[in-house]
């Protein structure tokens, strides 16, 4: 600062004014700094302290949705997939005229309930309320054309089943959020998981591959429907199983359900007979009785039993349907399906052996499928002589058809345990536990084939030319109120083919068939379930690449080769 030497008197006031200037500048600076730090503090407070509140406010109205992997059959045909659909929701705070909105919505979407709508939309505190989910494109357009404020759409994934009723009961259902709640769909959630999504997005997960073959499933369903119509039955069920891997290639239960209409599945007559219904399966159980006797060494195929006298237990009498009036060998007992003969074989073996053998085949405990728990078998409270005899020919204990099929498979596949599955196996048959000797399995195959080729066999109508079918009939009376009803039966036929080296097992059950001219006035399985099985095998054998006998390599079923193949894997 420059000082004027000649004017010292002017110094004092100048200094005072300079001090005032500095002072004012300082005050302004402090005020500005205070304001800015106030803003800064507020920013910090907003960004750190109140962050949680803000996030909650944005997340609250958004519903949860899940995108599911596709489900395909063993050949890659689409069975279940997600498609995007429009779902209608409202922001009640933005609705201007509630009465108008409700009236117009109910007129456009008649299945909406006005009272429910009023409850959902009347609360102005809410910012989000579903009105209807999964609208068709046409319905969505109509609602859009109403031009009502406060309504909006979201794209959501919705599960559809293009194959419809054909995929049947086992696929199960998903709920409105696209979460699996039953059947295979539930298993998909548990095993493969679903992705939570904010819009209708396709799942990026690999498709889930089922063991089912839609071609086989179609043939099975058609033949079962044909059987229901032909024999005037109330229902039917059937399955096709790979005897080595336990894969179910087809599984159908009539009356069928459409998985696209979930409410249908709730009625009792539409329940899945294969996995939720337990039934006495009748003479098909003689396969187990004979196999037990052979395995335990209490009988050979040529052993003779005197079956001329009925078996008497107090007030019970056990008779044969068509007594032959002569002693029968085990072979004859099997192909003529003699109850007395099977009973004698069971009595001879004793109940420890019978229980042990049935338990080894897994018939006495509950099994599981990917679609959920299979109904537990119904067993007698005490296992005395009467029970031994009735169970030897398939009465007195009830199992699901799936569990029964899984127990027959080891008796034809060389003796190995089979776990039924609905998923395609990529690795082929896994090494399995041996349940019965290869020799026993070979003898059972011989008997099953004989039952179809023999002129007197109960299964002779099951023959499908060239495909070497073997099988056993079973006609079981349905217990009704006050005991068994004579004219109400379940007729079943279990079969395997080609019998020289079985690859597939079939089971056909016809519920309450009626006698007709075609069945010669009979309702026994040999006249309905057996021919239905024959027609089924004739159709599915080409689909499963089973060659007719004259073209197949003329090789005997070599146990060693099968065992070798298993060991190699």
């Amino acid at each position: 600062m420059r000082r004027a030497p000649g004017r010292p008197e002017a110094r004092q006031p100048r200094q005072a004014s300079q001090f005032g200037l500095h002072c004012r500048a300082l005050i302004v600076a402090i005020a500005v700094a205070a304001m800015f730090s106030g803003i800064a503090l507020q920013l910090v407070r907003l960004s750190l302290v109140n962050r949680g509140d803000i996030r909650m406010a944005t997340a609250e109205p958004i519903g949860r949705m899940f995108s599911r992997p596709e489900i395909v059959d063993r050949n890659g045909n689409l069975v279940a997939t997600d498609v995007g659909v429009s779902s209608l929701y409202a922001d009640p705070a933005l609705i201007i005229d509630l009465d108008e909105v409700i009236e117009k919505l109910v007129r456009t979407l008649p299945d909406l309930d006005a009272a429910d709508l009023r409850k959902a939309l009347g609360d102005r505190g809410r910012r989000f309320a579903w009105i209807k989910r999964g609208l068709s494109p046409l319905q969505a357009q109509r609602v859009h054309d109403l031009g009502l404020p406060g309504l909006a759409f979201r794209r959501e994934p919705k599960r559809v089943y293009p194959a419809g009723p054909l995929i049947g009961h086992l696929i199960g259902h998903v709920n409105v959020d696209n979460k699996g709640v039953s059947g295979i769909e539930r298993f998909v959630d548990e095993r493969f998981g679903t992705e939570a999504v904010q819009a209708a997005q396709q799942s990026r997960a690999a498709p889930v591959k089922l063991s089912m073959d839609m071609g086989v499933q179609q043939a099975l369903t058609t033949e079962l429907k044909d059987a229901v119509a032909r024999y005037g039955a109330s229902g039917a069920a059937g399955l096709v199983m790979d005897v080595r891997t336990g894969e179910l290639l087809g599984a159908a239960s009539l009356p069928e359900i459409d998985p696209n209409k979930p409410f249908e599945a709730l009625t009792e007559e539409r329940l899945d007979r294969l996995s939720t219904g337990v039934y006495e399966l009748g003479s098909m159980f003689k396969v187990f009785t004979v196999a037990m006797a052979l395995e335990e060494g209490t009988a050979t195929l040529d052993k003779i039993y005197d079956v001329r006298e009925p078996l008497k237990f107090g007030s019970y009498t056990i008779n044969d349907l068509h007594p032959l009036g002569r002693p029968l060998s085990v072979r004859d007992i099997f192909i003529h399906s003699s109850n007395v003969g099977a009973g004698l074989m069971a009595l001879e073996a004793g109940n420890a052996r019978q229980i042990g053998f049935l338990s080894r085949l897994g018939l006495l405990s509950q099994i599981r499928l990917e679609s959920g728990a299979v109904a537990a078998p119904l067993l007698p409270k005490r296992w005395g002589e009467v029970e031994m005899v009735t169970i030897s020919y398939g009465h007195g204990m009830a199992v699901t058809p799936i569990q029964f099929a899984a127990a027959v498979a080891p008796l034809v596949n060389g003796g190995f345990q089979v776990k039924p599955t609905l998923l395609a196996s990529n690795t082929g048959p896994a090494p399995a536990e041996r349940l019965v000797r290869a020799e026993t399995s070979a003898r059972i195959r011989e008997l099953l084939r004989l039952n179809v080729t023999s002129l007197h066999g109960t299964g002779r109508r099951a023959e499908a030319a060239g495909y070497r079918v073997g099988g056993k009939t079973g006609t079981a009376e349905i217990p009704g109120r006050g005991g068994y009803q004579a004219k109400s039966v379940i007729s079943s036929f279990v079969a395997a083919f080609p019998m020289d080296a079985p690859q597939y097992l079939t089971l056909v059950s016809i519920y309450e068939p009626r006698a007709s001219e075609e069945t010669k006035g009979q309702i026994t399985a040999g006249l309905n379930a057996a021919p239905a099985t024959g027609r089924l095998i004739e159709r599915i054998a080409p689909l499963l690449s089973v060659l007719p006998e004259r073209l197949a390599d003329k090789t005997e079923y070599k146990e060693a080769a099968v065992d070798g193949a298993r060991a190699a894997r």
Binding site: V79, V83, G84, P162, L166, Q202, M214, A465, P548
Partner: protein
Amino acid sequence: MLRLLTIVAVALTFASAFMLYRVKYDTRLLEAQFHARERAYEKKQDDAAVLKAEKAYLSRPERIEALARKLGLEPIREQQYVRLDELGEPGDGDARPGPRR
């Protein structure tokens, strides 16, 4: 000197404000484009899923069987299988399919 510095600083402030504005504007534009593309992609994926489901619905075995039977086709029968060596040479006269008697 001080004045020059002030002018430069003000100019820089304006320049940076302008640039910031432009970058922000461009970003928003890109974001909008990105979201539009993403929506278009999702829409296409959605359409593809619907078409796939539609195709599976149209090719369901139930429908195919009815159509095939209308055309006079039937499930393959055992007699329709022929070994390759059972067929005659082309132009043999006996080249009809079926096992030779």
